[in-house]
Symmetry: C2
Subunit: 209 residues, 2 copies
DNA sequence: GAGCGACGTTAACGGCCATTAACCGCACGT
DNA sequence: ACGTGCGGTTAATGGCCGTTAACGTCGCTC
């Protein structure tokens, strides 16, 4: 499935992708030049074209890659199915947190630079994202049946925003370490979902917007 | 309420800033050219230089402006002081939600393009942001005294991520309307803060914080 | 021991784009 | 009427940057 580019020790490509992700996250796709990316891996500028068709291709591979990994991970956890829907939701949350904490640059690029992709790639990434969201929505609605689908979807988006907030954080030690951070984020996410259900429909009316 | 369409005097400058914000949010600072910004307000390219020193100046004004408005709004609500700390926190949340829902492009640009500013402006914006965060942290800790300051700060950042998630949303009607969205976001934010306090220190171990 | 393919290098090229130059008209106060 | 200045215009200019060309060097296989 997908394009397995060999489970190979694809050292160089991966090294480039990693540095590119870091730089894109720091300064934006348009803000970093190919020379910088090259320099980051010890070769210079056009040398990158031995590994990638172009700068766009690097971004595309990054975004498609992370989107697929998120979705695959989510599907896996749903398939495993815990003791209860609640356990599955816990697993989804923990999995996403691991991503957010361990691949910060990737997460940052993921929701900032989507629009810099060529049409085809963008549609592909969007589809993966959408499926990932729907995965969550389904599970969330099993745990908290009351809210409408629209509300559940909005809540999922919002919780993604919450979980992905780590990358934006001011650097140094004014924040909890990784373990505490993970615990905290899980509590916050669960608290948010729990509150989503409370008082649904009250004072609602037709609302219409 | 919120942003009055304003028969305001400063017509042109503000019009330019508004369109620039929209474009920057859509395609990133480096992704939009001055010609586009000009076109968006019916003049072309270099005509903008009658109003701004350069493209950077527009971004700077946008970011400083929104940061100041957020901070001023927050201070105002704190100064007004509600019945209780809880009421103040509610007011902060509602105020931020109004911002997130009414000035989506601005919010987007605000936490994406900070690094494209010149040193001086960047420091200024960062200071405003930091003060805004500290304002929230103080109030949050009054309402939920248990967590450490580091945890409270991380939670505030996370809730900002939650509240600011609206801009990223897939366009059309698969989501609640503005009124319902505001209600939902408030519930989620309150739920997250509430959960932050639950079980603090349990199973924690030394937890470094 | 020659050839070839993977990987790099440096030097163009070409396009985009922010900014500046040079020039224009109209509103308006005097 | 007049000139002055604000808000525009179009045409350079100059730099950055992605990409391509042309060329070199290993290391491997036949």
């Amino acid at each position: 499935m997908s394009n397995a580019p060999a489970p190979a020790p694809t050292s160089r490509r991966e090294q480039i992708l990693k540095e590119a992700a870091r730089l894109f996250a720091e300064r934006g796709f348009h803000g970093v030049g190919v020379d910088e990316i090259g320099a980051a891996v010890g070769i210079s500028g056009p040398g990158l074209y031995r590994h990638f068709a172009g700068k766009d291709a690097m971004l595309a591979e990054l975004l498609v890659g992370i989107s697929e990994r998120l979705l695959d991970g989510g599907r896996m956890r749903v398939a495993e199915g815990g003791e209860s829907p609640g356990a599955v939701l816990d697993a989804l949350i923990d999995g996403h947190i691991d991503f957010a904490l361990d691949d910060r640059p990737l997460i940052t690029v993921h929701d900032r630079e989507l629009d810099r992709l060529r049409e085809a790639d963008r549609k592909r990434v969007r589809r993966l994202q959408r499926e990932y969201v729907e995965l969550w929505v389904t599970v969330v609605r099993e745990v908290h049946p009351a809210p409408s689908e629209a509300e559940a979807r909005a809540a999922v988006h919002a919780v993604f925003g919450l979980l992905n907030s780590t990358p934006h954080l001011g650097r140094p030690g004014s924040l909890p370490g990784r373990t505490d951070m993970a615990r905290l984020l899980r509590r916050l996410a669960l608290g948010a979902f729990g509150a989503m259900a409370d008082g649904v429909g009250v004072a609602g009316g037709p609302s219409a917007g």
